[in-house]
Symmetry: C2
């Protein structure tokens, strides 16, 4: 049996209501990772009152990143897996999470431009995470989301964010309709979250059995 190493997984949650299904998903994610003995770095952006407004100074590449943004950046750069949990609000993440992208996915951290390129070229992804998972909730049916709205969250996370930053293995799942879901629906969705997390980040095997 192959050895499965312990990895560092960054988990980001963005929902204001602690009794939300998003919190239940994030709780399940963290539990599954811990049961599998991975290292979890967990941020509930609302509880941490993440400040989402990027300032003028931050636009420039040579900006001296202050704490706590620098700490978030170091964690993102070091993450070997990334899991994001948020509701679909207007085909986009909540503003607090958009601000996390704006401020933490910085040039030099998440991507960079080749030497001699002033910013108009094709960026090189810098993230070393081997997979990114996104769990969403929605009160719009999945078919309507795709047909009527074009499901912009899929392009945003898969293409505009993770593919650009070098994370090529991507999985996304939207649960819903939340407002009309039963307790049974939600239980089976959490079982699914647990199974997906464990399939991407299986239990650590530190010694090869029988060796």
């Amino acid at each position: 049996m192959n050895k499965i190493p312990r990895v560092k997984i960054l988990v980001i949650l963005a929902h204001p209501d602690k009794s939300s299904f998003n919190h239940a998903i994030a709780g399940t994610v963290v539990r599954a990772l811990e049961e599998n003995r991975h290292e979890v770095i967990y941020h509930d952006l609302y509880t941490e009152r993440f400040s989402s407004t990027l300032t003028t100074a931050e636009i420039f590449k040579n900006f001296a990143v202050p704490r706590p943004i620098g700490k978030y950046c170091a964690e993102l750069a070091a993450a070997e897996g990334i899991i994001i949990v948020h509701p679909n609000w207007w085909g986009q993440p909540p503003a607090i999470l958009k601000g996390y992208i704006d401020r933490v996915f910085r040039p030099g951290v998440a991507y960079e431009f080749a030497e001699g390129d002033d910013g108009e070229g094709i960026p090189i992804g810098l993230l070393k995470a081997r997979a990114a998972l996104v769990f969403n909730t929605s009160n719009t049916g999945l078919e309507r989301e795709e047909e009527v709205f074009g499901d912009p969250l899929q392009s945003i996370w898969k293409r505009s964010v993770f593919d650009l930053c070098g994370v090529k293995t991507f999985y996304r799942r939207t649960f819903g309709v939340i407002v009309t879901s039963t307790l049974e629906d939600r239980r089976s969705w959490l079982d699914e979250v647990d199974a997906v997390v464990s399939s991407y980040f299986p239990a650590v095997i530190s010694r090869v059995r029988g060796a």
Copy 2:
């Protein structure tokens, strides 16, 4: 000649740098509208330090909206035209503008659900604006934005936001690549902004000539 009424136009800008091309676009928009004698309600979200984080209480429909959010809501509801100016950051608006959508495009203001619908159904658009224009800037070429990233801003603004809220006439233009543009490029883009604004909101004609 037909009478052209004076209308109320809401202009929203989201860019941190006052020397940015976004500010030049917004300035041109406001000047064109004023020259055409329309009523302009202008918000530079960064200068106003718009607070973008939606709170738990705001999720509920019967939330007593406090000032200043209530004032933003009343202006949005009353607007007969809407013009939005922002850079393309990760295929999305900057967080401060995402927060404006999250908090100001409220149920009861921008859309509502039919009687007996608990939120899973199809919302009814409430905005009375007859047109929405979006001007974006980008450092990604337009072709690459569409082919590689799927240009999520188009779906976001046209379908997820304005169509849902009842604004069926929609125009969007992305200017770029900004970092490598010449002064001449930028001048001609501002002329284009002026022409587009005047084509959607032409000069007020209060008396029919020769009548």
